[in-house]
Symmetry: C2
Subunit: 380 residues, 2 copies
């Protein structure tokens, strides 16, 4: 696995159960996964040399993040030196929102109205046409709310576009899209096996604040028809993505229609609930898919599963110092990632299984508030 | 944690979630836990020097097995150099079945009728008095059926006693006891916190073949009254044991009465089901207790939880080569310990949660039969 963040850390836990030897490429010996695994190489998957050295020692490679030298990876794949799951092509798809949009549109999948543009004048015209407020997104490199701006008017849009323009006056490709009225943000995590078989987790509702996922509720509070439609769209999107392993499809639901927001081809924050809450966790299912093993049951283990992220508290507290207080919350499964505390940084998560959303949510939030930044009261 | 077997391996998985830095003392770099943890020291906890070196680098020490130099440990404890949970005194209790019997009897806890003896003539007289067949057990060093003999008559008893007698003609302390008619073997795993608070897992039924646990069924197939009585006896036994952490109390149920078989003061095979099957796994609860954190909920997550051990198949197959076949069994949570395959060796376990015993059992057994020695059809 290239990358040693919390996704690799939790993948390591799953690999231990299965007895799968998981080698991890870490940028640093203090990375989240590097702290808990003995089979660590130090290097940068964004460097062709490091990627080659690491990949040639592996039977199959997979990824904790997408910041990978895709040319070097594709070269190794084509030479038959390594099996990459997802493939370099699938990673390229996942890391380019503009490309995603074009392919999804071609397949007839529902998207917010949008324009893909590469100069400021066209971007402004597109926003005028789509209506204010508009959303500006960079095609590459955004995550956790970075690389996405909601702009109220032409002046605000111009300010963002100016910031994005480089010293040579070149604007990177951006997507300008309508600001969809969001009733619920949904995520469907699809597992696609090496032979193309797929299973999907129940639809999860993600509660986002400033573009960062603060909480997930599974199953999502939508009708069975909406859940079925979300799953259908996500499975079609996963097929377009063509990745082996997990494909997390983030969706907007405006109360009537579902549109695709974006796609990631790796384990995903929106399915951390599955560690305790599903028969098979997303991390085990990712490993099963990548290792060409039968996929596991994705059913939930309780009527409601809520996970809440532990973001670093503004007071700089280390959640490790408050573990006892959090574990005093009944049924709170606490996951700490071993990362240094910084305000706003994802340091862990808490999962609670319960019979009702209110119960699960209040316990998960109570534990989180002891460890980090409290989950804001949102209208949802 | 001293010792790096599968209990340490699964403790490491639990420690990762909690962010607790778990250092492990392994006899060998290929030990089950050493394969998956980066914080390994090589050494033998049975050696005073190794134990001292390891323990002085730890804030708190705990144990994967009991083969520990107890004098060296007690010395470090008394000097205030280390906190041992369980303490050397509790470990001494757990490793001496004769001492256990005496203390339990003093407390009025129910035991099979027995005599503690240290010479062959007295042993034979005791067996005659208790009736044939009788059971002969060494007070120390027995596990997984080793150190226990059921003897049909005086000749068979004499043969065992002769084998046990050393070159100087000295018989180690043995327990001679009645062969209890066993309707069910039960186990209750009690978690005892650093401040003396306790929680207990639901009563588990263990299916033993030749003294080796092949399968566990939780909750046990006994009446609520019998379960309550088993829990009462186990909690009293745990208090006598005085250990901090997990205390596994193995019990006999003859259809009328419950008697104590033996006690272990560490995570235990009879509660591996708790990883998926309980709100808090035994491994997490052991760490919580040892680290003086609040104890976790021990309730089950399903009506029935069955775990079956993977013992090495006579054909020498490596379960890792048959993982796909086992994972094809719906809902089978497979745990492989990374140990070299040898016939009869515990190489892993499989857990299934279900609504009925028959369903859980048939799926767990089906997965196990693909990986190792099939669980024999027993009358239970």
């Amino acid at each position: 696995m290239m990358g040693a963040g919390q996704l690799a850390r939790m993948s390591h836990q799953a690999a231990i159960s299965l007895g799968i030897p998981l080698r991890i490429l870490a940028a640093d010996a203090t990375d989240s996964a590097a702290l808990v695994s003995p089979t660590i190489d130090i290097g940068d998957p964004g460097s062709a040399a490091d990627l080659r050295r690491f990949a040639t020692g592996c039977e199959i490679v997979t990824f904790d993040h997408e910041l990978v030298d895709l040319d070097a990876l594709a070269e190794l794949e084509h030479a038959g030196t390594v099996i990459a799951r997802p493939s370099a092509a699938a990673l390229a798809f996942a890391t380019d929102k503009a490309h995603q949009r074009t392919r999804f549109a071609h397949r007839g999948l529902p998207l917010p109205r949008h324009r893909i543009v590469a100069d400021a004048a066209t971007a402004l015209a597109a926003a005028e046409e789509l209506g204010w407020p508009a959303v500006v997104k960079t095609a590459r490199g955004g995550y956790d709310g970075r690389g996405v701006w909601i702009v109220a008017d032409a002046d605000a849009a111009q300010a963002v576009l100016t910031t994005l323009t480089d010293a040579d006056g070149v604007l990177p490709t951006v997507i300008v899209e309508e600001a969809v009225r969001i009733e619920r943000e949904l995520a469907v995590v699809v597992v696609r096996g090496a032979q193309g078989t797929t299973v999907s987790y129940p639809v999860t509702e993600t509660v986002q604040v400033d573009g960062i996922c603060r909480e997930t509720i599974t199953p999502a509070r939508v009708s069975p028809e909406v859940a079925a439609e979300a799953t259908r769209i996500a499975e079609a999107a996963a097929e377009v993505a063509g990745a082996v392993g997990l494909i997390a499809v983030e969706l907007f639901y405006d109360g009537t229609d579902i549109t695709i927001n974006e796609v990631a081809t790796r384990p995903h924050n929106s399915a951390h609930w599955s560690i305790e809450g599903a028969v098979t966790s997303q991390f085990e299912n990712h490993l099963r898919a990548v290792a060409d093993l039968p996929l596991g049951d994705t059913a939930t283990r309780a009527p409601v599963v809520v996970s809440a992220n532990i973001l670093g508290h503004a007071d700089g507290r280390d959640p490790a110092d408050h573990l006892g207080a959090a574990l005093a919350v009944r049924g709170a499964a606490v996951h700490l990632y071993g990362k240094g505390p910084r305000p706003g940084r994802k340091l862990g998560h808490v999962t609670v299984l319960a019979d009702t959303i209110d119960d699960a949510r209040s316990r998960a939030r109570s534990a989180v508030a002891r460890l980090g930044d409290p989950v804001p009261e949102v209208s949802q």
